[in-house]
Protein backbone atom coordinates (compact mmCIF):
# COMPACT_ATOMS: atom_id res chain seq x y z
CA UNK A 1 0.00 0.00 0.00
CA UNK A 2 1.23 3.47 -0.85
CA UNK A 3 0.33 5.97 1.88
CA UNK A 4 -0.79 9.51 1.18
CA UNK A 5 2.49 11.11 2.29
CA UNK A 6 4.60 8.88 0.05
CA UNK A 7 2.27 9.69 -2.83
CA UNK A 8 2.50 13.39 -2.08
CA UNK A 9 6.30 13.18 -2.20
CA UNK A 10 6.07 11.42 -5.57
CA UNK A 11 3.60 13.99 -6.89
CA UNK A 12 5.89 16.82 -5.76
CA UNK A 13 8.86 15.19 -7.46
CA UNK A 14 7.04 14.49 -10.74
CA UNK A 15 5.46 17.95 -10.80
CA UNK A 16 8.92 19.50 -10.44
CA UNK A 17 10.19 17.32 -13.29
CA UNK A 18 7.34 18.35 -15.61
CA UNK A 19 7.84 22.03 -14.76
CA UNK A 20 11.59 21.71 -15.36
CA UNK A 21 10.95 20.11 -18.78
CA UNK A 22 8.79 23.11 -19.64
CA UNK A 23 11.62 25.40 -18.54
CA UNK A 24 9.57 26.71 -15.58
CA UNK A 25 11.09 27.43 -12.20
CA UNK A 26 10.33 24.90 -9.46
CA UNK A 27 7.62 26.00 -7.04
CA UNK A 28 6.90 24.38 -3.68
CA UNK A 29 4.04 21.87 -3.87
CA UNK A 30 2.16 21.10 -0.67
CA UNK A 31 -1.02 19.14 -0.01
CA UNK A 32 -3.02 22.35 -0.51
CA UNK A 33 -1.46 23.31 -3.84
CA UNK A 34 -4.09 23.43 -6.59
CA UNK A 35 -2.91 22.10 -9.95
CA UNK A 36 -4.97 24.38 -12.16
CA UNK A 37 -5.94 28.04 -11.81
CA UNK A 38 -3.41 28.51 -8.98
CA UNK A 39 0.17 29.72 -8.72
CA UNK A 40 1.53 26.58 -10.41
CA UNK A 41 2.28 27.15 -14.12
CA UNK A 42 0.43 23.91 -14.91
CA UNK A 43 -2.15 23.30 -17.64
CA UNK A 44 -4.50 20.39 -18.32
CA UNK A 45 -1.91 18.64 -20.52
CA UNK A 46 0.69 18.89 -17.75
CA UNK A 47 -1.84 17.35 -15.39
CA UNK A 48 -2.49 14.52 -17.88
CA UNK A 49 1.29 14.01 -18.15
CA UNK A 50 1.54 13.84 -14.35
CA UNK A 51 -1.23 11.25 -14.10
CA UNK A 52 0.31 9.08 -16.83
CA UNK A 53 3.68 9.28 -15.03
CA UNK A 54 2.12 8.37 -11.68
CA UNK A 55 0.38 5.39 -13.25
CA UNK A 56 3.68 4.29 -14.79
CA UNK A 57 5.46 4.47 -11.44
CA UNK A 58 2.78 3.09 -9.12
CA UNK A 59 0.91 0.80 -11.52
CA UNK A 60 -2.31 2.32 -10.15
CA UNK A 61 -5.07 4.06 -12.06
CA UNK A 62 -7.65 5.60 -9.74
CA UNK A 63 -9.54 6.87 -12.80
CA UNK A 64 -10.07 3.49 -14.46
CA UNK A 65 -13.76 3.46 -13.70
CA UNK A 66 -14.28 7.11 -14.59
CA UNK A 67 -13.09 10.58 -13.68
CA UNK A 68 -12.92 11.49 -10.01
CA UNK A 69 -12.86 15.09 -8.92
CA UNK A 70 -9.74 16.52 -7.30
CA UNK A 71 -8.17 19.95 -7.17
CA UNK A 72 -5.11 19.80 -4.96
CA UNK A 73 -1.99 17.66 -4.71
CA UNK A 74 -3.24 16.29 -1.39
CA UNK A 75 -6.55 15.22 -2.90
CA UNK A 76 -4.75 13.50 -5.78
CA UNK A 77 -2.39 11.73 -3.35
CA UNK A 78 -5.39 10.44 -1.40
CA UNK A 79 -6.96 9.02 -4.57
CA UNK A 80 -3.78 7.02 -5.31
CA UNK A 81 -3.41 5.93 -1.69
CA UNK A 82 -6.95 4.56 -1.76
CA UNK A 83 -6.63 2.89 -5.18
Amino acid sequence: MTDTNTMLDLITQETARILAEKGEAALPVTADTAFLDGPLPFDSLDLATLIVALEGITGKDPFRAGFRQFNTAGELAALYAAA
Binding site: D43, L45, V52, A53
Partner: protein
Protein backbone atom coordinates in the same frame (compact mmCIF):
# COMPACT_ATOMS: atom_id res chain seq x y z
CA UNK B 1 18.99 8.29 -32.97
CA UNK B 2 16.19 7.78 -35.50
CA UNK B 3 12.78 9.23 -34.83
CA UNK B 4 10.19 6.53 -34.29
CA UNK B 5 6.91 6.41 -36.15
CA UNK B 6 4.10 4.05 -35.19
CA UNK B 7 2.13 2.91 -38.24
CA UNK B 8 -0.93 0.74 -37.75
CA UNK B 9 -1.70 -1.75 -40.51
CA UNK B 10 1.76 -1.91 -42.11
CA UNK B 11 1.47 -5.37 -43.64
CA UNK B 12 0.08 -4.36 -47.03
CA UNK B 13 -1.42 -1.57 -49.11
CA UNK B 14 -0.87 2.00 -48.02
CA UNK B 15 0.53 1.05 -44.59
CA UNK B 16 3.21 -1.12 -46.18
CA UNK B 17 4.18 1.63 -48.64
CA UNK B 18 4.41 4.14 -45.78
CA UNK B 19 6.48 1.74 -43.67
CA UNK B 20 8.88 1.09 -46.54
CA UNK B 21 9.28 4.80 -47.33
CA UNK B 22 9.85 5.70 -43.67
CA UNK B 23 12.55 3.07 -43.35
CA UNK B 24 14.22 4.38 -46.51
CA UNK B 25 14.03 7.89 -45.07
CA UNK B 26 15.84 6.76 -41.89
CA UNK B 27 12.96 6.54 -39.41
CA UNK B 28 12.45 3.64 -37.02
CA UNK B 29 9.00 2.11 -37.56
CA UNK B 30 6.77 0.14 -35.22
CA UNK B 31 3.85 -1.44 -37.00
CA UNK B 32 1.11 -3.98 -36.36
CA UNK B 33 -1.49 -6.00 -38.21
CA UNK B 34 -3.56 -9.07 -37.46
CA UNK B 35 -1.41 -11.18 -39.81
CA UNK B 36 2.20 -10.58 -40.92
CA UNK B 37 1.30 -10.98 -44.63
CA UNK B 38 3.87 -11.80 -47.32
CA UNK B 39 5.70 -8.50 -47.74
CA UNK B 40 6.52 -7.51 -44.17
CA UNK B 41 8.78 -10.45 -43.18
CA UNK B 42 11.44 -9.61 -45.84
CA UNK B 43 11.34 -5.98 -44.72
CA UNK B 44 11.81 -7.09 -41.10
CA UNK B 45 14.84 -9.07 -42.23
CA UNK B 46 16.24 -6.09 -44.14
CA UNK B 47 15.80 -3.61 -41.27
CA UNK B 48 16.19 -5.65 -38.06
CA UNK B 49 17.29 -2.61 -36.04
CA UNK B 50 14.66 -0.12 -37.21
CA UNK B 51 11.54 -2.14 -37.89
CA UNK B 52 9.32 -3.69 -35.24
CA UNK B 53 6.11 -5.61 -35.92
CA UNK B 54 3.66 -7.02 -33.43
CA UNK B 55 0.52 -9.01 -34.13
CA UNK B 56 -2.39 -6.88 -32.93
CA UNK B 57 -6.05 -6.25 -33.60
CA UNK B 58 -6.58 -2.53 -33.10
CA UNK B 59 -10.30 -3.17 -32.66
CA UNK B 60 -9.50 -4.83 -29.32
CA UNK B 61 -8.33 -2.35 -26.69
CA UNK B 62 -6.04 -4.76 -24.83
CA UNK B 63 -4.41 -5.80 -28.11
CA UNK B 64 -3.70 -2.25 -29.32
CA UNK B 65 -2.43 -1.32 -25.84
CA UNK B 66 -0.07 -4.31 -25.90
CA UNK B 67 1.20 -3.18 -29.32
CA UNK B 68 1.93 0.36 -28.13
CA UNK B 69 3.62 -1.04 -25.00
CA UNK B 70 5.75 -3.32 -27.19
CA UNK B 71 6.67 -0.47 -29.54
CA UNK B 72 7.66 1.83 -26.67
CA UNK B 73 9.65 -0.92 -25.02
CA UNK B 74 11.55 -1.42 -28.27
CA UNK B 75 12.13 2.17 -29.43
CA UNK B 76 11.05 4.49 -26.56
CA UNK B 77 8.41 7.22 -26.80
CA UNK B 78 7.36 7.72 -30.44
CA UNK B 79 7.76 10.91 -32.46
CA UNK B 80 4.69 10.18 -34.53
CA UNK B 81 1.65 7.98 -35.02
CA UNK B 82 0.01 7.14 -38.31
CA UNK B 83 -3.47 5.73 -37.78
CA UNK B 84 -3.66 3.80 -41.04
CA UNK B 85 -5.21 0.39 -40.28
CA UNK B 86 -8.76 0.23 -41.49
CA UNK B 87 -11.36 -2.02 -43.02
CA UNK B 88 -14.12 -1.46 -45.56
CA UNK B 89 -17.47 -3.23 -45.54
CA UNK B 90 -19.73 -2.56 -48.47
CA UNK B 91 -23.49 -2.85 -48.50
CA UNK B 92 -26.69 -0.87 -48.53
CA UNK B 93 -27.09 0.31 -44.94
CA UNK B 94 -30.65 -1.01 -44.60
CA UNK B 95 -29.36 -4.55 -45.03
CA UNK B 96 -25.77 -4.26 -43.80
CA UNK B 97 -25.51 -6.70 -40.88
CA UNK B 98 -25.13 -4.88 -37.56
CA UNK B 99 -22.08 -6.97 -36.76
CA UNK B 100 -20.36 -5.41 -39.79
CA UNK B 101 -21.38 -1.93 -38.66
CA UNK B 102 -19.88 -2.71 -35.24
CA UNK B 103 -16.70 -4.05 -36.85
CA UNK B 104 -16.27 -0.90 -38.91
CA UNK B 105 -16.74 1.45 -35.97
CA UNK B 106 -14.63 -0.66 -33.64
CA UNK B 107 -11.69 -0.89 -36.05
CA UNK B 108 -11.75 2.37 -37.98
CA UNK B 109 -12.88 4.74 -35.26
CA UNK B 110 -12.72 3.31 -31.72
CA UNK B 111 -9.49 1.49 -32.60
CA UNK B 112 -7.87 4.62 -34.00
CA UNK B 113 -8.94 6.66 -30.97
CA UNK B 114 -7.60 4.03 -28.58
CA UNK B 115 -4.27 3.83 -30.40
CA UNK B 116 -4.00 7.63 -30.39
CA UNK B 117 -4.78 7.72 -26.68
CA UNK B 118 -2.20 5.05 -25.85
CA UNK B 119 0.47 6.67 -28.04
CA UNK B 120 -0.22 10.17 -26.74
CA UNK B 121 0.40 9.05 -23.19
CA UNK B 122 4.01 8.54 -24.26
CA UNK B 123 4.23 11.40 -26.73
CA UNK B 124 3.20 13.94 -24.07
CA UNK B 125 6.15 12.95 -21.92
CA UNK B 126 8.56 13.33 -24.83
CA UNK B 127 9.81 16.90 -25.22
CA UNK B 128 10.08 18.32 -28.73
CA UNK B 129 6.61 17.94 -30.19
CA UNK B 130 5.33 15.20 -32.46
CA UNK B 131 2.94 14.23 -35.22
CA UNK B 132 -0.32 12.32 -35.53
CA UNK B 133 -1.69 11.53 -38.97
CA UNK B 134 -5.09 9.93 -39.37
CA UNK B 135 -5.76 8.23 -42.69
CA UNK B 136 -9.34 9.13 -43.45
CA UNK B 137 -10.93 9.07 -46.91
CA UNK B 138 -12.77 11.20 -49.43
CA UNK B 139 -15.71 8.87 -48.71
CA UNK B 140 -15.98 10.55 -45.30
CA UNK B 141 -16.29 13.95 -47.00
CA UNK B 142 -18.46 13.14 -50.01
CA UNK B 143 -20.08 9.77 -49.35
CA UNK B 144 -20.55 6.84 -51.72
CA UNK B 145 -23.47 4.46 -52.13
CA UNK B 146 -22.91 1.30 -50.11
CA UNK B 147 -20.32 2.87 -47.83
CA UNK B 148 -22.46 4.80 -45.33
CA UNK B 149 -21.06 3.21 -42.16
CA UNK B 150 -17.50 3.35 -43.52
CA UNK B 151 -18.04 7.02 -44.41
CA UNK B 152 -19.23 7.72 -40.87
CA UNK B 153 -16.05 6.25 -39.40
CA UNK B 154 -13.86 8.29 -41.72
CA UNK B 155 -15.75 11.53 -41.05
CA UNK B 156 -15.34 10.66 -37.37
CA UNK B 157 -11.58 10.45 -37.85
CA UNK B 158 -11.55 13.95 -39.36
CA UNK B 159 -13.41 15.17 -36.26
CA UNK B 160 -10.82 13.47 -34.09
CA UNK B 161 -8.11 15.26 -36.06
CA UNK B 162 -9.60 18.72 -35.50
CA UNK B 163 -10.36 18.28 -31.79
CA UNK B 164 -7.06 16.62 -30.94
CA UNK B 165 -5.13 19.27 -32.86
CA UNK B 166 -6.56 21.86 -30.47
CA UNK B 167 -5.92 19.69 -27.44
CA UNK B 168 -2.24 18.87 -27.98
CA UNK B 169 -1.07 21.89 -30.01
CA UNK B 170 0.46 23.45 -26.90
CA UNK B 171 2.93 20.55 -26.88
CA UNK B 172 3.83 21.17 -30.53
CA UNK B 173 2.16 17.91 -31.52
CA UNK B 174 0.38 18.41 -34.82
CA UNK B 175 -2.62 16.32 -35.83
CA UNK B 176 -3.74 16.07 -39.45
CA UNK B 177 -5.81 13.82 -41.67
CA UNK B 178 -4.72 12.52 -45.05
CA UNK B 179 -7.77 11.66 -47.12
CA UNK B 180 -6.96 9.50 -50.15
CA UNK B 181 -9.35 8.99 -53.02
CA UNK B 182 -9.75 5.55 -54.57
CA UNK B 183 -6.47 3.66 -54.26
CA UNK B 184 -5.50 0.55 -56.12
CA UNK B 185 -5.05 -1.70 -53.05
CA UNK B 186 -6.65 -4.89 -51.75
CA UNK B 187 -9.31 -2.72 -50.07
CA UNK B 188 -10.63 -1.42 -53.38
CA UNK B 189 -10.59 -4.92 -54.88
CA UNK B 190 -14.35 -5.18 -54.53
CA UNK B 191 -14.98 -2.31 -56.97
CA UNK B 192 -16.64 -3.62 -60.13
CA UNK B 193 -15.20 -2.90 -63.57
CA UNK B 194 -18.01 -0.41 -64.14
CA UNK B 195 -17.34 1.39 -60.89
CA UNK B 196 -13.64 1.65 -61.70
CA UNK B 197 -14.39 3.10 -65.14
CA UNK B 198 -16.74 5.63 -63.61
CA UNK B 199 -14.13 6.70 -61.02
CA UNK B 200 -11.45 7.08 -63.70
CA UNK B 201 -13.86 9.10 -65.89
CA UNK B 202 -14.63 11.48 -63.02
CA UNK B 203 -11.00 11.91 -61.95
CA UNK B 204 -9.31 14.90 -63.64
CA UNK B 205 -5.95 13.12 -63.47
CA UNK B 206 -7.53 10.14 -65.23
CA UNK B 207 -6.70 7.13 -63.06
CA UNK B 208 -7.12 5.53 -59.64
CA UNK B 209 -4.49 6.51 -57.09
CA UNK B 210 -1.72 4.28 -55.78
CA UNK B 211 -0.18 4.09 -52.34
CA UNK B 212 2.91 5.79 -53.78
CA UNK B 213 0.80 8.85 -54.65
CA UNK B 214 0.00 9.30 -50.94
CA UNK B 215 3.38 8.55 -49.36
CA UNK B 216 5.08 11.91 -50.21
CA UNK B 217 2.34 13.81 -48.36
CA UNK B 218 2.89 11.63 -45.30
CA UNK B 219 6.64 12.27 -45.41
CA UNK B 220 5.96 16.00 -45.72
CA UNK B 221 3.56 16.10 -42.75
CA UNK B 222 6.03 14.16 -40.62
CA UNK B 223 8.88 16.49 -41.50
CA UNK B 224 10.02 19.67 -39.79
CA UNK B 225 8.68 21.80 -42.64
CA UNK B 226 5.10 20.93 -41.63
CA UNK B 227 5.44 22.08 -38.02
CA UNK B 228 2.82 24.86 -38.38
CA UNK B 229 0.16 22.74 -40.10
CA UNK B 230 -2.40 21.18 -37.79
CA UNK B 231 -6.07 20.23 -37.70
CA UNK B 232 -6.21 19.94 -41.50
CA UNK B 233 -7.36 17.30 -43.95
CA UNK B 234 -5.13 16.88 -46.98
CA UNK B 235 -7.04 15.29 -49.84
CA UNK B 236 -5.07 13.22 -52.35
CA UNK B 237 -7.49 12.00 -54.98
CA UNK B 238 -6.40 13.04 -58.47
CA UNK B 239 -9.00 15.80 -58.25
CA UNK B 240 -12.15 13.68 -58.09
CA UNK B 241 -13.61 15.85 -55.31
CA UNK B 242 -12.62 19.19 -56.84
Amino acid sequence: MSRTVIVTGGSRGLGLAITRALLEAGYAVATCSRHPGDDLPPLLAAYPDRLFWQQADIGVAASSQAFIDGAVQRFGAPWALINNAGIAREGILATLPLVEVDDLIQTNLTGAIQVARAALRHMLSRPGGGRIINISSIIGQRGYTGLAAYAATKAGLDGLTRALAREVGRRRITVNSVAPGYLDTEMSGTLSGGQREQIVRRTPLGRLGTADDVVPAILFLLGDGAHFITGQTLTIDGGITC
